[in-house]
Point group: C2
Chain length 357, copies 2
Amino acid sequence: MNSNRYCVIMAGGIGSRFWPMSRQSCPKQFLDILGTGRSFIRHTYERFAKIIPNENFIVVTNRRYKQQVLEHIPELSEEQILCEPIGRNTAPCIAYAAYTLKQKNPNAEMIVSPADHLILNENEFIRVLESSLEFISKNSALMTIGITPTRPETGYGYIQRTTNDTISAVKCFTEKPNREMAQAFLDCGEFLWNSGIFIWRLADIIAAFEKYLPEHSALFGAIERKLGTEAEAEAIELVFSQCKSISIDYGVMEKADNVYVHSGDFGWSDVGTWGSVYQQSRKDRYANVLNGSTIQTYNTRNSLISLPKDKVAVVSGLKDYIIVDTDDVLMICPKDEEQNIKSFIEDVKYVTGDKHI
Amino acid sequence: MNSNRYCVIMAGGIGSRFWPMSRQSCPKQFLDILGTGRSFIRHTYERFAKIIPNENFIVVTNRRYKQQVLEHIPELSEEQILCEPIGRNTAPCIAYAAYTLKQKNPNAEMIVSPADHLILNENEFIRVLESSLEFISKNSALMTIGITPTRPETGYGYIQRTTNDTISAVKCFTEKPNREMAQAFLDCGEFLWNSGIFIWRLADIIAAFEKYLPEHSALFGAIERKLGTEAEAEAIELVFSQCKSISIDYGVMEKADNVYVHSGDFGWSDVGTWGSVYQQSRKDRYANVLNGSTIQTYNTRNSLISLPKDKVAVVSGLKDYIIVDTDDVLMICPKDEEQNIKSFIEDVKYVTGDKHI
């Protein structure tokens, strides 16, 4: 494998949208919400391990998840896990990885990927990655992967491209659209879903930080000699306390003039909501998704039921519900109200403190 | 206290209607479904202990529940627990207690009561009992307590009396009526709910067994000398394997000509269904009954939610549901479908065997 290629896995999320299954102590990336037998982060690692040597992985996560990352990916050594003291969105996360890599290999080519997405067609995904890596090796490009949309999804950001070529310069990034806008995006053909997966040369992203996020660049640049040393933790603590929270999309990708998108169609989902888990999962003949060893349903349709191992459920008379039972929390909620989960969490926190969060 | 007075508590039920909270291993009489702090059988014992000496209690139960009875009523000694090898309805249960008492005290006066009913006004209940005991001490009467009905309940049997006096001869017993019939019973004023609580002299019930259930009388009479000895268990095993399953109402009370009913109004319920638990329990302002330390409801009305200790629930968008969560079973069911619980149990049993039953 090409020893200049690195994969940075961003794994700092707390995944509150999958409460009560996800917890602050065990967020989505460490869960197997779809019942595949492997956690999201394990799938992500295995996917990239086909083209990236083990020693070229970097996982950026909150420091409280360091041990969990090592448990899920025992192939990595401790120094490959970069620990954020607090979450500051994707730009500081990527800067931390980039300035760390700068010390190790100035010729690095970086793939940056979330830890918790679903990709069904891995061969096609690898093909798109290889094609992207080839492009950035020849062009000073900040490349993102855009997913060919299949429905007017309102839960994703979109990327408008300038041409319909497989690789195209980007016209603009847009936030999550409303329903009408999403339909227009789908019909128009110029728009792709923003996957949050990036490919670039280290030199190009460092240059972009210097140009578009000079404060971040200065903060990380000032401590780059300490990265990989005993002084790293203290220095990073200070940098994260000082640097602004900002996404790489907003801070760099929307501003830079060398941004390209590679279109892809490999069965991708960010699996960001219980609704998307429902969509991605196999249904029974009543269109229910049942994750549990013994779930008896009666007059129940279009619902997702998730139980702890060995628990039995009898569910009668529910249509379009999400039922998630864990050892200490039971949630029953209509599917179209799952955006309320955050307020459920706040309310439970108000009553019981952090115990069940 | 009068040392001729005995209380026989019938505690052999398996209480499948409260599944998944009640189990074959822990039926309703040992549960505190209403959250009062005491089990039904403990409440029953304490209620009668005001007028019955400890040594004059007899509990008839299935042998597998003997230890549980002793745990809930440690005031009783082991020989006060009569163990049925199999359930044969109330007539054999009462015969077993009656023929046992015959060996101990031929002058006994018996109160017979289910272990799992709710009585809110205990003082009034005791007053009715005392009045009944006084009546049977002077009359050769098989007395039952009839509850003044307050609604056209279709879940109870009814007793038609010949007069509206507090104590009246009984015209007839009727099975559970349909809705129209129940309304007619309520309007007519002659009908009382059948509480299943009986008061009689031992001599009178023995005479009634001899006359109306001669086979049962012969079976128990043949082994009466063995009761209270080491030979009891084996003898009872044989008797129960031979005697017909029949209720005391059908076998004796509907046939005898010395049956009287004492009317009573002391806040009684047999708490036979989740619906009656809902009725008997304190509601919150959304008419929900919440048994659990932390239950957050949203847009949820007229529902009963019961959780294990320390579990948290978030329930949104349910109207008129029963939600019972135990450590190993979750049941969600519309309130008006709770008669299906028996088929739920059969279905779960089919899949998992007896494990969760």
